[in-house]
Amino acid sequence: MPDVAKIAADLERAGLGAVQVAEEGLGVVCRADTSDAPRVLEALKADGFEMLLDLFGADTGEGLVVTYHMRSISLDEDVYVTADLAYGGTLASVWTSYPSALYPERETAELFGLSLEGHPNPKRLLTTDAVEEPLLLKSTAVRTHEEVRRDG
């Protein structure tokens, strides 16, 4: 487990005192503002969290949460950064510090209906224009039993 106090202090020094760092069931989680997220990630990279293992969004019903999962290979520690986002908001790209964010950012933007900022290739990743609704939003329904029946 990473040292919560140390991370909080490092973030404080980087001028990100508003970020809450706490230990939860998942591990150490830093709750940041969306606009702060790229800077939080950079500060954590300086702390040795050199690999962005995963990036994904989630629809809570009230808004979106984007989670960044980071890892330090030398320290063998994981840390999570979460950022709340409104529906249809803008996701600031972090690919300059973590190129591994390139695909998942495009995917998240596409499947949750976000727009990307600062991404070198901000087009759709998984679907074509034939799919209009952001597929992973809770408001997008799956097909009903009647729709998938083949006999009528």
């Binding site: 995963d54 999962h69 190129p99 034939a130």
Partner: protein, 401 residues
Amino acid sequence: MAEHDDVREPVLIAEGASAPAGLPKGLRRVPRGVDEFATEHLIVNMGPQHPSTHGVLHVLLELDGEEVVAAEASLGYLHRGLEKLSEHRRYHQIGTLLDRADYLSGVHTELAFARALESMMEIEVPARARWLRSLLCEITRLSSHLVWMGTFGMDIGAMAPFLYILRDRDAVLDVLEEITGARMMFNYVRPGGVLYDITPKAEQMMLEFLDRFESTYLPEYHDLLTGNEIFRARVRDIGVIDRDTAVAFGLTGACLRGSGVAWDVRKERPYAAYGELDFDIPSGSKGDCWDRYMVRMEEIRVAGGLARDLLDGMPEGPYMAKVPKVLRPPEGEAYASVESPRGELGVHVVSDGSDKPTRMRLRPPSYFNLAVIDEILPGHMIADVVAVIGSIDIVLGEIDR
């Protein structure tokens, strides 16, 4: 038919998609067009139907003669909504979908999901179940690596290894069928344990296969590929991923170990029975296709040895914990990962206390491993493109989900 007339061609290359200046790594994309010798560049679409894209990967290549100037992978030809559908399934039903994510080694995905649930619900898994899980993981790792080796050989142009691995894999699948009842889609690892106990017949079949494999087949593969001068010339110094690039692009598994980082979830975060076992983590140094090849070939050997150890030391006892009929994990989040044949496979579950997850995120290793090809392909020849993609070992099922 008319229903899908609105399906349009995907936009192929984003206009003006060049990288901002002064950035560390990532996307050395050259603007398309004409180079200094006034030769026009050729843009070809490799895939989605191409013999060596390992499924339905689509790679856009900008070529100057035979040399790649820029490359871009285009995904989504198999996007079928595993994550979305999981939100509409009960926890017990999700295993069926997860098997189909990484269809070469479904057990690993099941295991990652089961572990995430177990950590949320604080279920204690019996020892025998843990050993059976490890055993199944190692058998599928072996069979998955066999497919990788065969297709990699075929990418380089050798047909024989591919057909030989099909012969061996059929034997492995027979063992798996004896244990789980299915050739591919097992749904064997359940939250709390495993579905069936191992039969003596399966044990014997496995040992027979391992004897044959280790004494005859594996040396045969090394003769066919490892010792082949043409093969060496084709894979040495090709597709070099240095340590920093590997880490920056979030590579895991053999791709990361090939670049010299001996990180393996089985060692660093032991799960199932791996904490009680002794095994090597092979790693490379340079990060070229040859290193990744050798790492995986070694892993095949290690997996065979591990399967033997696991059969030998299998503890007695129950193979399933007491688990409620309907799983309702408490509100919260959990992340669990396993070392799948392709790398770190993680499952992130968000629960609101009901019998269906709010969000089920799969962290597919080959999705991240694949992203690096945009970066490393420029400068290679077409023949190397298939070699590099082959050496990364992708499964489109988990990439597109």
